[in-house]
């Protein structure tokens, strides 16, 4: 059994087979019908001729029969015309009258058969086909035979039969082909909603759980499947929502106790202990806010009409992180574009991405060096540091959640770069990562330019 990959190909193949079979069968059936009809007409005509010959048969006073054919009938049966012939036979097989030259019967005498009989007889080169009827005239039973030489048969009817394939038979094939094409078109049309549904389905993912397949235009036969898929998506979305909400709620709930802890530390008399503990609290608070950022990002959808000035966003981030950097004896500089650089995206999200890159750079750059922000007119923002750079085998690891090169190093959560990557994904932005000479890393985020 052949396996068909698509419904369309299955229909096409089966349809072609059906077309071939149907066109053969239809031609045979039609030609048989045509032959049958012509023969029928011929038989009827012959019977009619026999009857009309019989009407001119009459009994004389002496009891013998005589045949008085009118002029037009005589012409029909004349030797010159040669197409039609008749004979009248008595019940002993003797020929009473005949239009043939040798006064012979058309068909072998049959004195037993019923009222009407259709017969065929070869005479020399010709085949005579005709009818024989029984008639009683003046108390005598006679058989009147009428026949037609098939070699002289009606040209028109012969032409119709002979030219049937050439003139009529071929029409069945194109008709069936047109039907096939129409069927394919109908099917493709019927399947179009399914194709649209699958395009929508391809966009569904952990970040787009709100999409559902449309059911309005889906053929009724497939609708149960589509509805079942939609219900499955409802359940998945609920699962995602619960998980997301849990992350957000858990992080959220930690904030108040952490505030209490933090305030207690601020009121502690021993400044040295208090400072160390405060750093720990700040580390925890940082993780919490990054977890909340991630939870928010998982549910975030970028408005395609939103735009942001990458330059001013970068400037704000630089202002925000500068005190942090200075406190660690490191410097910040903003270079590049002077005019606004409009890109597609949500300004707050862009700001978070750049801030995380900046915090990462400040953590890794050597003391006394500068972390540089470079905004380019094509919608790229780069953050350059003078740290150790990124080893080749760590290039992909650094974007994984909770990955850290040195787990003992404080101040790093391993979440920052995964947030950057997520925001880049949401904005169809590309991240490129290069090492600098003699040392350092360069992260570049290229956003889509916003054109009015």
């Amino acid at each position: 059994m052949i396996r068909f990959k698509s419904i369309i190909s299955r229909i096409v193949i089966l349809h072609v087979v059906a077309v071939v079979i149907t066109s053969i069968f239809m031609s045979l059936a039609l030609s048989w019908l045509l032959n049958y009809a012509t023969n029928n007409i011929h038989d009827k005509a012959m019977q009619q001729q026999a009857v009309s010959v019989g009407e001119h048969l009459s009994a004389k006073a002496d009891g013998s029969l005589e045949l008085n054919l009118p002029q037009d009938l005589l012409g029909l049966y004349s030797q010159a015309y040669g197409r039609y012939s008749y004979a009248v036979i008595d019940n002993r097989g003797g020929v009473l009258f005949s239009s043939l030259k040798d006064q012979a019967a058309l068909f072998p005498a049959d004195t037993v058969s019923s009222d009407v009989e259709f017969l065929q007889q070869r005479r020399g080169d010709a085949t005579v086909s005709g009818a024989s009827i029984r008639k009683t005239v003046g108390g005598k039973t006679v058989w009147i035979q009428a026949g037609e030489d098939l070699a002289n048969r009606d040209v028109l009817i012969d032409d119709i039969v002979a030219d049937f394939y050439r003139n009529v038979g071929w029409i069945t094939l194109p008709i069936l082909l047109v039907l096939l094409i129409a069927d394919i078109a109908i099917f493709r049309r019927a399947l179009r909603p399914l194709r649209q549904a699958s395009e929508i389905a391809s966009e569904i993912g952990p970040t787009r759980t709100d999409l559902r397949l449309p059911t309005e235009e889906i053929p009724r036969e497939v609708r149960p499947l589509v509805s079942a898929v939609n219900q499955a998506l409802d359940r998945l979305e609920e699962g995602f929502r619960i998980q997301r909400d849990f992350t957000a709620d858990a992080a959220h709930e930690l904030r108040t106790p952490l505030s209490i802890l933090r305030t207690r530390l601020d009121l502690l008399a021993d400044e040295q202990i208090s400072r160390a503990l405060r750093q720990d609290v700040e580390g925890m608070a940082h993780i919490i806010s990054q977890l909340l950022d991630i939870a928010e990002l998982d549910a975030f959808v970028v408005d395609p009409a939103e735009k942001a000035d990458l330059r001013s966003v970068a400037a704000e981030v630089a202002e925000f992180v500068a005190p942090l950097a200075l406190a660690q004896g490191k410097d910040i500089a903003l270079l590049g574009a002077i005019k606004p650089v409009w890109v597609k995206g949500n300004p707050e999200m862009l700001s978070r991405a750049i801030r995380n890159l900046a915090e990462n750079a400040i953590n890794h750059t050597a003391p006394g060096t500068t972390v540089e922000f470079v905004v380019e007119d094509d919608g790229t923002v780069c953050v350059l540091d003078h740290g150790p750079g990124i080893a080749e085998d760590e290039r992909n690891l650094i974007f994984q959640r909770f990955w850290r090169r040195d787990r003992r190093k404080p101040g790093s959560t391993g979440l920052g770069l995964s947030i950057v990557q997520r925001i880049a994904e949401l904005h169809s932005a590309t991240i490129t990562l290069e090492n600098r000479r003699p040392s350092g890393a360069r992260f570049a985020l290229k956003f889509m330019p916003f054109r009015t």
Binding site: T256, L258, D266, R278, V281, A322
Partner: protein
């Protein structure tokens, strides 16, 4: 000076009271929106520290109600909600500032003072970093309590930097502050003033440093 703290977590409320007391503020604590709404109609407070998640509703409702009644009291919102929409909503509802938990007591007090120091508000006018002091009332800078004479432009730059202590002042802000929105500004004019100010301060023994953040602006901080 009396402050109102609306916070339903008893421990946090108690600790805040203690901390604010240490900084010289008297504090009343309430734990529900209804109480707060009633008390604010009859009692005058210098500022309101408002938690958003309260047992009888959202603190933002109280805030909107206050602003609706044209009550100008400075409001500092404390919240565990740090989401993008939450912050935008908080500021739109009329909060003057927004602190996400957990916060440093020091930062809370600094932000509070920034609010109280605004025109029309109550706090005194003296700004201080290390041994450098700036009196905003008579625009007088002093180092080790010795009044200093600075040019008008240098004074203006110093005032702006001192008012934004701990934060970066963008170059644009300095330009606007000194020249207003009119006037042609030579491209390096601001750098020149900052450079002069820096020189004056270090020559006169101020233990502060004016940092230049290239492409961004300036920041004044204690010298290390």
């Amino acid at each position: 000076m009396r402050l109102l703290v609306v916070e339903d977590n008893e421990q946090l409320a108690e600790l805040l009271t203690k901390g604010l007391q240490a900084a010289g503020y008297e504090t009343d604590v309430l734990s529900s929106l209804e109480e707060a709404s009633t008390v604010l109609r009859t009692t005058f407070y210098a500022a309101l520290i408002l938690d958003l998640g309260l047992p009888d509703g959202d603190g933002l409702a109280l805030l909107r109600d206050l602003r609706h009644r044209n009550n100008p009291i400075p409001v500092l919102v404390l919240t565990a909600r740090g989401g993008l929409q939450d912050r935008v909503q908080g500021l739109r509802s009329g909060a003057d500032d927004y602190l996400v938990k957990p916060f440093a007591l020091e930062e809370l007090i600094a932000r509070l003072e920034a609010q109280l120091r605004r025109p029309g508000n109550l706090l005194g006018s003296s700004l201080r970093i290390a041994n450098l002091e700036f009196d905003t009332r008579n625009r007088q800078a002093s180092i080790d309590d010795q009044p200093q004479v600075l040019s008008a432009r240098e004074t203006a730059v110093l005032e702006l930097l001192m008012r934004s202590k701990g934060r970066v002042v963008s170059k644009k802000q300095v330009e606007d502050h000194i020249f207003g929105h009119s006037g042609e500004v030579a491209s390096n004019a601001i750098e020149v003033y900052v450079h002069r100010l820096r020189k004056q301060l270090s020559e006169r023994g101020a233990k502060v440093q004016v940092h230049t953040i290239r492409g961004v602006g300036y920041l004044i901080a204690e010298e290390k």
